[in-house]
């Protein structure tokens, strides 16, 4: 079976500094994979490379067996990969409902359609309402997204990310800046909405990581030093040393 | 050969004048991300103020005081206008400066009327500096070159050699960090805006006597200035210099040498359709270079944008 996402000797330099230094990673279909590592390890850069925000300097990224080199973010999205952002990235002036509906448009085949009314499509309305239900924002439906609380905006962000029906979901620190109860809420949410999909996430909160992921990769200074189940990674002495060491240096 | 030299000097004068405007504009743009549509209006105000002052105190006092007044007005516009509009985003900022340009033009008409003002250079510069093959070069032109170069060197010196310049350069890229270091960034912004508009004012003071002091003078030069900084690359000072000189020389030379499209097309082996007055291509065949001199900058801009969207010296992610 081809893996959902495969990275082979992926590299990225900014000027002379190499941030990602040869990452090999294979993520199977339906896997929940977390990338952890100390600050500055290159986790966000890795995300931005995979989603086409930056071009890679070397190596390859394949999604369902197709090479992603040179593809723009919208092309990658159309191939079934969707992402959320570390800093909330929604459409603040549009209503919550409108936010979700817009993210459904491409996947429902509307493309650059300018002859059918969005309000008349039952599939769109119902699809959007279903997602609002899932992320518990039905009551906020007609408010501009910009006025929602932080946790609600994060939930909306996840809603937008999953709406397009992508089967590879990438979440960049979905619980960053949240309180404990909010974190629990988002974790439950992520678990329900990504059932049956491939999940790749970057996360700092170890509680979230061990609660959600079945595979963990540890990224330190642009290299993956270990990949395995949560238990195996936790027990890996190399990880303990390197991660703890780096974490200590960090603080 | 002599004629080339004369045109080189003329083009240099135009180019440097453009540069005085585009330097301030591009500096303001790279700092605040806002393109000041009213920039040329401050140039016009410089000319009018200098004219008014010169009536009472003579040309030199005008050259000294008018840019200061313009700079203070510019700083006021930043402080009480732009800073307020800034919260709405870049597009409203641009619309605001557009409205300001309209308002200043109307204001000038309100105060000075629609006619050209009899603003003239100082008597002391009313002589021929030297002559090249019978073409006399007025001293005033040399004076213009001198002033612009002096200002450019001064600007470069301030930006690269002084403490203030360092802070400005840092604030261009990392306004938040500079603010965290205890510098008053809004004040720096206001200052840069004031200095930028004052530069435009200087340009107005010295260009007024040559190009005429009338309500349309901002409009005539304004769009060329925008084209200049787009060609040079938004935010690049060197780009502004190169593009200004380029435009100065291109327009001067194409006005001086009567190149005809007819000759060009014949060289490429096309035959002139007969009778020409009935052909749909008659306008193409009758084009001459002086006729299109003023639109060449726009053509250049469109070509640049197609083949090099970031301008000559622009950064890719500008």
């Amino acid at each position: 079976m081809t893996p959902a996402l495969e990275l082979a000797d992926l590299r990225k330099s900014f000027g002379k500094t190499e941030i990602i230094r040869g990452v090999d990673l294979s993520i199977g279909k339906g896997e929940r994979h977390a990338v952890i590592g100390p600050n500055g390890a290159g986790k966000s850069t890795l995300f931005n490379l995979i989603t086409g925000r930056f071009p890679q300097s070397g190596g390859s990224i394949t999604l369902h067996g197709t090479d992603l080199a040179g593809k723009a973010p919208f092309e990658i999205n159309r191939m079934g990969l969707s992402r959320s952002f570390q800093i909330t990235n929604i459409f603040p002036k549009m209503t919550v409902f409108e936010n979700v509906r817009c993210s459904l448009l491409w996947s429902l085949g509307y493309r650059y359609n300018f002859w059918s009314m969005v309000g008349r499509s039952r599939a769109l309305t119902e699809g959007a309402e279903e997602i609002l239900e899932q992320i518990n924002l039905t009551a906020r439906r007609d408010l501009p997204a910009g006025v929602l609380s932080y946790a609600e905006q994060r939930a909306l962000e996840i809603g937008i990310t999953i709406a397009g029906g992508a089967d590879v979901i990438m979440l960049d620190e979905p619980t960053a800046g949240m309180s404990h109860s909010e974190t629990d809420y988002i974790v439950d949410l992520i678990r329900t909405v990504t059932t049956g999909k491939t999940l790749v996430m970057v996360e700092h909160d170890m509680g979230v990581v061990f609660g959600l992921a079945d595979q963990i990769s540890v990224l330190v200074y642009g290299e993956i030093i270990a990949t395995g189940t949560p238990e195996a990674v936790r027990a890996n002495p190399k990880v303990q040393e390197a991660y703890l060491g780096a974490a200590l240096e960090d603080h | 050969m002599d004629l080339i030299l004369v045109n080189l000097i003329d083009g240099l004068v135009t180019g440097l004048l453009l540069f005085m405007l585009s330097a301030g504009l591009t500096l303001i743009f790279s700092m605040m991300g806002v393109l000041n549509f009213a920039h040329a209006s401050f140039y016009m105000l410089g000319a009018y103020f200098a004219f008014q002052i010169s009536l009472a105190l003579g040309f030199w006092m005008g050259l000294l005081i008018a840019p200061l007044v313009v700079g203070v007005m510019g700083a006021g516009v930043e402080r009480y206008g732009l800073r307020r509009v800034h919260q709405y985003g870049h597009v409203p900022e641009l619309i605001f400066t557009f409205g300001l340009a309209l308002l200043i033009e109307e204001l000038v008409q309100f105060i000075w009327g629609k006619n050209q003002m009899p603003y003239e250079g100082p008597d002391i510069l009313q002589f021929t500096a030297f002559a090249i093959a019978g073409n006399s070069i007025p001293a005033y032109k040399i004076f213009m070159i001198f002033i612009s170069v002096a200002i450019f060197i001064g600007l470069l010196w301030v930006l690269t050699r002084t403490r203030v310049g360092m802070i400005i350069q840092a604030a261009l890229t990392y306004p938040k960090t500079v603010e965290a270091l205890g510098h008053n960034v809004p004040l720096i912004f206001m200052g840069v805006f004031g200095v930028g508009t004052a530069l435009a004012g200087v340009a107005g003071v010295i260009a007024g006597p040559v190009l005429g002091t009338f309500p349309g003078m901002a409009f005539v030069l304004g769009s060329i200035v925008f084209v200049t900084i787009v060609i040079g690359g938004l935010g690049s000072l060197w780009g502004a210099l190169v593009a200004s000189l380029l435009i100065g020389w291109i327009t001067t030379f194409s006005k001086a040498y009567n190149l005809r499209m007819e000759d060009l097309l014949t060289t490429f082996g096309f035959t002139k359709p007969e009778p020409i007055w009935d052909s749909p291509w008659r306008d193409l065949w009758s084009i001459t270079s002086p006729q299109i001199a003023d639109i060449l900058p726009y053509v250049l801009m469109v070509l640049i944008l197609i083949f090099r969207p970031y301008g000559l010296f622009g950064k890719r992610d500008a």
């Binding site: 491409w106 650059y112 | 597009v91």
Partner: protein, 432 residues
Amino acid sequence: MTDQSTTNASKSAQGVRAGSMMLALTPWCIAAVALLVLPFIFTANSAITIMNQMAITIIFALAYNMLLGQGGMLSFGHAVYAGVGGFACMHIINNDAFFSQLPLPLLPIFGGLFGMGLAMIVGSFSTRKAGTVFAMISLGVGELIAACSVIIVAFFGGEEGISGDRTYGLPFLGVEFLQQIEVYYLIAVWLMLSAALMYLYSRTPLGRMANAVRDNPERAEFLGYSARWVRFYSFVASGFFAGIAGALFAINYEILTEENLNTTQSGIILLVTFLGGVGFFFGPILGAIVFTLVQTVLSLQTELWGFYLGIVFVVTVMFFPGGLAGLIMMHVPAMRLGKLSVLALPYLRTLGAGFVGCLGAAALIEMVFHVRHASVGDHEMTVYWTTFDSHTVLPWVLAIAATVVGFWIARATAPSLAAAWSEANTADGGQP
């Protein structure tokens, strides 16, 4: 008819949907009836001329707002798309063989197609970026084409422009469009049609994505849409409707000149749209109506009309970025609460006084202008239907008094207006 409102479709009742449909159609029906009866109320030829101009401006402003309001693209050269559409139609009118086979009411389609064609060419490179870069390109291209009009005489007719005779077209249901009123109805039909199409366009997937790209182009790219192509399609659609406006101009005035293309014209349409309000679909309509009326009235009364316009525009950008439509829609929450009446008296006090202050200030401006620019010895001037000597003291005292007192009262009563405002927007006992 608001931009913000979502469609009212819901899972539950079809009945609700039908009801909201009726509600959504009401403004359109009112507009159609109004367009139908207006010529019977204002029968004068000059009135019909003004209404024609108004209708053309509405179409153009709506087309412009497809870019500015819905797509977030600021164009400083949009007049060229209307202008080129108009010039193309003028050439069709002058082509006897073709035009005698073409009913005049179909001509705007050609105008639209030419406007669209030009927009496709320019848009192919100008829509790569939004914001400042787009604005500058639009300015440059606008200037370029306007400047070409004196060079490419074959198409633009040089200084004097080109003119034609609309009545040579194939008679349409026996109508030859000799009279102004016949042209009025032709324009009115096109107005309804274009406005409806543009409104519907904003409800299509592409129209919705235009909003999304305006708000957050990067996120839109991660939803599968190329921000650039979304902008391109908006631009092309806007060019089409601008071309229609240009064609109607050609039909109405039977002459096009460089003035239809230049930056001044582009600036005016920006002004009209922004003053009307870019956030709502009806904003530009409001802007076009008010602007045309005020322009017609004021430009006859005072030489300084552009000066006042400049002031109003700058003040609007600074303090009311939502424009006229935004001001109106600000009152919707209070209206929903049924507390609009709370505002009536404070409004009357503050705005009434402010209005007097503005009148006083305008009188002062007029007087200063007269003293400065009237020919020597001409001391007689007329302001507000009153003729007086501008070199005597009394008018100055009166004007200054009106200005100072008016603004002073407005300022003094402003806090009570603010209090009334928050009162009107608070539901009795609780949540705002």
